[in-house]
Symmetry: D2
Subunit: 400 residues, 4 copies
């Protein structure tokens, strides 16, 4: 009976684990709240196991299943490929999809190395010339509180930025018996806390401040060097009995300090060993005119201190970011009715659909993802070389 | 391609405003996260304006549209009627739907009067004998933190309850120029803050403690007696120019103190004049063995004090209610990835689908809704009679 | 060597328990921080046991000891009597001291009954005509955050007040084996939580809002009816063995709702059964232009919401009340260096010394204390009569 | 009339600014709350201006005045010298006082250089052999919440420590017109935020964890390079008119990351440019069995997460550190009645008096102060050399 006459956009999803579920909920919900200019159609889901992919498709609402992502690219009913696989396959899938004329939404980190990311960014530049769009999924940018933070900075409410301190604290590896999942394997994940959650705070900090990190000094550590093999990682070790262990080949925690192009001092910490902190993506920014603080564990709140307030009544304001005046919030519920984790993914695809319809470039771009990758690499190099000061590689002018 | 072979349950929705949107998102999402034994099918939406109903159906994902809720009852593809209209129509729709053999989910408050609620409860009792289920939508029960609170009380972690203090604070009426919407019209809404949000804290308090309010002493107030007519309420006044005002016929705020059957002292406050509080449904419970505190404005947190903790390390624990061990939370995301307002509606329909499939009665029942209505009536009578002590009417044994 | 040439004021203290210690610290500290126009001299302490009084005097810094408070009144080196005894002796001591020409600082509650309080207020009026000053010790008024709250209201920052909700939550009686101390004996204490801590929130609410409670509806409860005799209360029971118990003759908790002269709705709760709350004197005030919230357990913070803030950046501000612009704070330490419980007592005597030197009346006056007593009495009468609405007795014009 | 027969200890204070006032309040208050084995007598205060010193002595309660600290050393009624001057004079005064047989309490940082600190530590060792005691004033150790934090770590409640993150955030230099006070002059203060407040978080972190920092990588910055001359700093510039400015010769902010001997990663930040943060000494410690968090802006609270709590009821506990079971708190007021900034100084002298009476060494010792100085120096060297990894110098075995 649907009278919706807006053009549709067929979506093909690669991967149906944690990120695949979050992205599916976004595609499923976006039209109910955001009135996007294109109506997404959940055309097909690709997963290696047909059985598991079919079960996921049924639960998550995808109309068809493929067992090879390459087959997604051949489907006429797919105009956008949404990549929710581990980082080691991002480059191959994204480059092929863009080459096939499909728009791409790629989960972060963009890639597992700068070289891969450069290839992807080049592919995105080439595709852009043909009207094909690419976006990297730094979802936290679209938490309303984070988007409001950026707006306050952009509006000059913080003045000159002096300090950025960002942490991403989790604790799921504190137990030394937690198994050796793919996120602990450098071949799959590239790095550990650094690339997984460190990438988020790098992007979030740069996004909020509109400023880039130009150099770092870093430390990384792997507190637990060996872990029991995961059921699905038996290939990592010769023996597969219950006691078999394999080496953790990524960092458990990464710390770095740095400077930004704008002259701020910055401090970053990403760890999976912060007992009691579950998903504490925290950022505090101090400027000459004001300050901001955010913690994802209270994701609907932004704390803002306005230095121009009269001194006797000044203080950090706990802004409940659920008002119609706030980014994204008005599309959902009345004030005070908070949003949850997956809403940022819905905002992400709402903006992406709008960009595709408008023929503009969505942000964050693959170039943005590449720049984060360059920071990650500088951190890794500094940590590997006695914490020495390591400039972040600057982009080369694109050959045109 | 969907291989889901579970039985389906056709849903018909009446109303597509705030509550209709929240319920739609629940029906749309439940199968992706909860693996319910029945798969809901969003069959039809009823709304008086065909144009607006059709637009809503398209956006929210309903397959068909009706302009009279009675037509929903005649549809074979509808087995459950979900009532999201103002309170004055609940009784008629629910009674008719149950009589037609449709399961019913009815928004709260159950009705606008005890008499209506009694009729509805009687209809639910009769329907139950035929395997037809009825549930009233006190959604806050299914916020994970609230459900956890109940579990802690039920497990004896609070001991004997001494105190319950509950507040539901909003501020959307502080501006005297806010228009005279239907919620301010006693004929539509029954009462003001009392029935709209007071009903929620009465239910939540009774649900968490497992104890019932037996008597009250109350005050109500209407701070702003007249307001500009709303665009859609022009019928309320002879003149319809911009300056036309009409009387507010409901309370702006309601306060009451009371006692529970279990011997606790209780304090309640519902208001739409609490400047700066947006949706602060707060409850604190103090028992001989522990205490609990909750505020919906930080809906993923439950505060728990365990009096058996060693004194030197005791304190209210900020439980982030996002762990697999917590009610509902495990179905969604990893720990620390909070939920939002509408998730409780998804939990509500997940439990309802399970109850229908299992042939058990879902909670809260219409009897539960009736009991809340009796408390509301006692509050209104006390307030109307100089705050005198007013026992809550006890249910009569059902004639069988 | 002291070159201080300011006039001195001799202080005589009656009682050296909790309040006596707090007042002593105030007298000892005031000159170091506030440059008062009169220099207090800690002349003599009165206590019934010479031995214990002498030990207290040595520790607390009092130069002499008396065993009868009447002897304090005869001392030429005492110009002010500071009454820190239980409430049953306040009237006798204060009236006699004022008659003897001594200024009086009397702990709260002013008395154990309205009749006593009226006598005291009359004595204060008579003394005032002779330049003798009387003050009642509602110390919480002089917590900087509370004084700032009053200033914000007085400056119109809250607009018209709609709501006051105040709680004073403690938990020291949750254990049923806690002994029957004097505070649980109506003859000594007058009432229980009501007079002890309820008096504080009544005064604090009225002080902050500048508005008076005009009627109430109340509930009180004694959860534990009998308790073990305290070592020093053996006289209460015939047998003095370990198992001896005596009746608790005061309330454990008191709740009331009411209205103010200015048209606000108010809600109050005082309890010693709020497990996990230690000294939670909390008050929230909602007005048409803003709101305030305070909790003594975070005594250096005042939360303020300014409704005139731009909507996108509005929120409750956590004001750290330690700035030079804040009441009292500038006399102590740099910003951010918080104060503690006893500092309010130092502020109290600083203001009292200034008032005496200036020949003005200190606040809160005995009339203020009497008015609080009238509210307490209305609460007790309402609770004793089925929570019926009970107007607060209005002061009679003084016979002149 | 004082019957106190405990031995007395004459105190001589050098300096009467911020720290002198705080120490005075401690000496004045300690006997009233802690029953120390020695009764301190506030014998004499030394200050360069007789007039200002006399005024301070009168206000703060010192019996005599000296204009040269050397004269304090000659007084028979002075047995302990309390040094509250800027860091550049610590070494000279402390060494002389110890040589004169006076116990010494010296404010932090112990000195302005490692060389000075080594001299002082050597003097303290020599004095110790003669029964003369030396203590450095890291007052934050004796905030009850900090002392409780150490106890929890020492009791094994945190397990193996993985992370320490400490910040000391102030904002009093954000205004570029704030004058060039002595704390901004390297000759007086040694360094800026680093030595002033960075020293505190280094000591606090090491104290709580019982673990030492072994190497660092650091950044420092001076955001505002020139400031108006302060009234009392005219000597810094040739011209003394209102517009005269001088160079800021210390850091405005210092960040560093490091490792501890026990294998933890640590992150530190000290700044005077954190707009809206007034005295936010924050520390968070994550261990294998639990975590702790503290912020001095809420100084009566310690947050503790116990990983052994049942998962469904686990969370950071907000411990209100005011119970009799908590360090120092029982000496003051009932539970929930918080302490303020200066109380830690009272605790400091209470412990110092006990150590002197008992013939034991008070902590923190001058060796502890020297070790902090070595960390400060490593930070400065790393910052000066491109953030390179810089080991903290280890103490040499004392020549005996």
């Amino acid at each position: 009976m649907t009278e919706d006459r807006k053009p549709v956009l067929g979506i093909g999803l690669v991967g149906h684990a944690f990120m695949g579920r979050a992205h599916s909920q976004a595609w499923r919900s976006v039209a109910a709240f955001f009135d996007p200019p294109l109506t997404p159609v959940m055309a097909a889901l690709a997963g290696r196991s047909r059985e598991r992919a079919a079960a996921a498709a049924a639960a998550l609402g995808w109309a068809a299943v493929e067992t090879d992502w390459k087959d997604l690219l051949r489907r006429d009913d797919v105009q956008l490929v949404d990549i929710c696989t581990p980082g080691d396959s991002h480059a191959e899938i994204a480059v092929a999809a863009l080459a096939a004329g499909k728009h791409v939404l790629c989960e972060k980190p963009l890639a597992n190395s700068v070289a891969e990311a450069e290839t992807m960014a080049a592919a995105a530049r080439a595709a852009r010339a043909r009207g094909v769009r690419a976006m990297v999924g730094f979802n936290y940018r679209r938490v309303p509180a984070v988007a409001l933070a950026r707006r306050l900075v952009a509006d000059g409410r913080l003045g000159r930025i002096h300090h950025v301190r960002a942490q991403y604290l989790q604790d799921w590896l504190v137990d030394p018996e937690y198994p050796l999942v793919w996120r602990l394997d450098a071949r799959k994940a590239g790095s550990g806390a650094l690339g997984d959650i460190g990438a988020h705070i790098i992007d979030t900090a740069q996004y909020i401040t509109g400023d880039l990190i130009v150099g770092v000094s870093a430390l990384t550590e792997t507190f637990v060097k060996e872990r029991p093999l995961a059921a699905d990682a038996a290939g990592l070790a010769a023996t597969a009995d219950g006691a078999a262990r394999g080496p953790v080949t990524v960092d458990d925690a990464a710390l770095f300090i740095g400077r930004t192009a704008g002259g701020a001092l910055a401090s970053f910490e990403a760890t999976r060993f912060a007992t009691g902190r579950k998903n504490a993506l925290r950022i505090e920014v101090n400027g000459s005119a004001g300050s901001l603080a955010f913690d994802f564990e209270a994701m609907n709140e932004l704390w803002f201190h306005d230095r121009t307030d009269e001194p006797a009544a000044a203080g950090f304001r706990r802004i409940l970011v659920t008002e119609p005046e706030h980014p994204y919030a008005g599309a959902w519920w009345p004030a005070g009715h908070g949003l949850g984790y997956e809403h940022a993914f819905t905002h992400q695809v709402a903006d992406l659909l709008t960009a595709i319809a408008d023929g503009t470039d969505p942000a964050p771009s693959f170039e943005d993802g590449l720049q984060v990758q360059r920071v990650l690499e500088a951190v890794a190099r500094s940590a590997a070389s006695g914490s020495g000061w390591t400039p972040v590689e600057q982009p080369q002018p694109a050959a045109t």
